[in-house]
């Protein structure tokens, strides 16, 4: 809908005024076969232009109503990459890992918050939220979890997830991303190092 079609609408009125001027009284005072032909062709062209631009304009008018942007949770994927060097390290009560956030469709998405639901853990990220991503882009994010209270931290979660709050022009949503067994395993190891291997 952009490119060649885009400039037509702004030009439409200008062209019409030019054509109307040619067919005005001044034109009729000096008729000639060539001029008349040109005038007819120009008038026909104007009509065609009107029809074409009207159709395109109607399509444009319909487009926003038919295709609103996707909800941010449906436009974004978040995949676990691997453990990453980070501040503190496991012995310092921290676990850093990289995730890839991909915006697959729709407008830019702003990550307004990254959280995780377990008590006893806090979250920080680099880049720090809020940050914006571009449409159809991949961003690498380093997430660092810190143990704040070992008693409340999970020891061996099977399906830990990150709660990510996403905003685009359609909505703001908090979506859980369950990052899979490798993340669960590496998180459990880090938690055991940080809090000891004692069972509850």
């Amino acid at each position: 809908m952009t490119g060649g079609i885009g400039p037509v609408e702004p030009g439409e009125d200008t062209y019409l005024r030019n054509v109307t001027g040619r067919a005005g009284p001044g034109g009729r005072t000096a008729p000639s076969r060539t001029r008349h032909r040109r005038t007819v062709r120009a008038a026909g062209a104007a009509l065609l232009l009107l029809a074409a631009s009207g159709s395109l304009r109607a399509d444009r008018a319909r487009e926003p109503a038919e295709a609103p942007p996707p909800y941010p949770s449906q436009a974004v994927t978040l995949a676990y990459l691997d453990a990453a060097p980070g501040p503190g390290g496991a012995r310092g009560g921290g676990f850093s890992f990289a995730v890839r956030l991909s915006v697959r469709s729709g407008p830019p998405v702003t990550v307004t918050r990254i959280a995780q639901p377990s008590a006893g853990l806090s979250v920080a990220s680099s880049p720090a939220a809020p940050f914006q991503t571009k449409p159809h882009s991949d961003s690498k994010i380093i997430v660092t979890l810190r143990v704040t209270e070992c008693d409340k931290a999970p020891r061996n979660p099977g399906f830990p997830f990150l709660d990510v709050t996403l905003r685009n022009t359609r909505a703001i949503q908090t979506h859980s991303f369950i990052l899979g067994s490798r993340y669960a395993r590496q998180l459990s190891q880090a938690l055991q190092v940080a809090c000891g291997n004692d069972s509850r």
Binding site: L48, A79, P117, S118, P154, I178, G180
Partner: protein, 410 residues
């Protein structure tokens, strides 16, 4: 020169506009006749509970597959092929499901089957279909063993290459519910009940395992008989256990009365279940005290999926009497996956079905990929859906309301 350019541009635009208009007209008129006159008829079998307690879900499955077949015929989606459905009622019973599988295999026009609803029924049908190399796509079976083998927790082995599903498994659904109950609802003491069936017991087990890993306490367990509706003895045990939440692995015909009787016994605590209780009928059966009960179900909420909106509109326009219910979108996608596989097989064989069409359709299913009602539809090496989304719903003012969604990206 400028004028000539103007004319040329205008003519090109006009031609373009006319072409666009023509395309629109062709689309608009295309549905009046399938244009398959004299072509091949392919039957998509449907197996689901069409009568009995679970018929609300089963009829939604049947209607949604019917809509997929009609849509393919309307659009002449597979050139020269017209689709019909043959729907059989399994009454939620594994033995009946197995008989239905044999009947569907006997009809040589059947090149794929959508169903069943219940994992226990699915278990009984798998071998029959696999022997006949007839592909089966379940929109609702969630027990992990069906695709990953009975030892799926330690060693995943696909038992049948003809079995696929579009629903997310309980390997994810149970833990997802546990995380929500423990971390978001802040419930720490659970009473776990199941109906001893493949689906219910399996789901309760995956929930329990994760709940314990998170530090939650299981203060009681019970099994109920799904043939009764009197759960007063269990309700009293729940009341006396000090539980702050109940997890139920099973389906809504029992879950509704169970919730009602637990509250009546004096335990004003939420009942939580899986996709088997995510039905409007659960709310009717649970009554007013069911407010605050929770269910997880497969997929994202319908209102978040533009493709689902189109499905909802088309379903309504088709005039089906029954609601599409929890598995409508998954059933449509299951039916459409079969249509896509048939299309591939026909196109690879010069526009005709080959003699070994069933085997070829089963083979083609592994690589099917399309944008469906529920999102991207494709299958992993086990036949499981690659799109793994789940949503937690809560009963609020007599209706299910989505409260949190998650995506498995591991």
């Amino acid at each position: 020169m400028r004028q000539r350019s103007l004319i040329a541009i205008t003519a090109a635009l006009a031609a373009g506009a006319l072409t666009l208009t023509a395309c629109g007209s062709r689309d608009d008129d295309g549905g009046s006749d399938s244009g398959n006159g004299g072509g091949t008829t392919v039957v998509i079998g449907v197996d689901a509970p069409l009568t009995g307690d679970l018929s609300a879900l089963g009829l939604g499955i049947k209607n949604s597959v019917d809509l997929a077949a009609k849509t393919a015929n309307k659009d002449n989606y597979v050139d020269g092929v017209k689709f019909e459905i043959q729907a059989l009622d399994d009454q939620g019973q594994p033995s009946v499901g197995q008989q239905n599988a044999t009947k569907l295999v006997a009809n040589e026009d059947v090149l794929g089957v959508v169903g069943p609803l219940n994992s226990s029924v699915g278990e009984s049908m798998q071998k029959v279909f696999d022997t006949a190399k007839l592909v089966e796509v379940s929109p609702a079976n969630t027990n992990p063993a069906l695709t990953q083998g009975v030892d799926w927790q330690t060693k995943q082995v696909r038992p049948y290459k003809s079995y696929f599903r579009t629903a997310t498994t309980d390997a994810i659904q149970g833990p997802f519910a546990a995380q929500y109950v423990f971390n978001d609802s802040k419930k720490k003491k659970v009473f776990v009940i199941d109906d001893k069936k493949t689906y219910g017991a399996g789901l309760a087990a995956t929930f329990t395992e994760e709940f314990k890993k998170l530090g939650g306490q299981v203060v009681g367990t019970e099994h109920i008989n799904p043939d009764t509706k009197d759960f007063n003895a269990v309700a009293t045990k729940v009341k006396n256990s000090g539980a702050d939440v109940v997890y139920y692995g099973g389906e809504y015909p029992q879950a509704g009365p169970l919730s009602k009787q637990i509250k009546a016994a004096g335990a004003k605590i939420p009942v939580v279940g899986g996709d088997g209780i995510y039905s409007a009928d659960f709310i009717k059966l649970a009554g007013a005290t069911g407010n605050g009960d929770l269910a997880t179900s497969v997929g994202a909420p319908v209102e978040e999926l533009p493709s689902a909106k189109e499905f909802v509109a088309n379903y309504k326009a088709a005039g089906y009497k029954e609601a599409y219910e929890a598995y409508g979108g998954y059933s449509y996608d299951s039916g459409w996956a079969i249509i896509e596989a048939v299309k591939k097989v026909v196109e690879d064989n010069d526009g005709k079905l080959p003699d070994d069409a069933r085997a070829k359709v089963t083979e083609a299913m592994q690589n099917v990929s399309f944008d469906g009602v529920t999102g991207k539809v494709s299958f992993d090496e086990f036949g499981d859906a690659t799109n793994k989304q789940l949503t937690v719903y809560a009963v609020e003012n007599g209706a299910w309301k989505s409260v949190k969604s998650g995506t498995y990206t591991g």
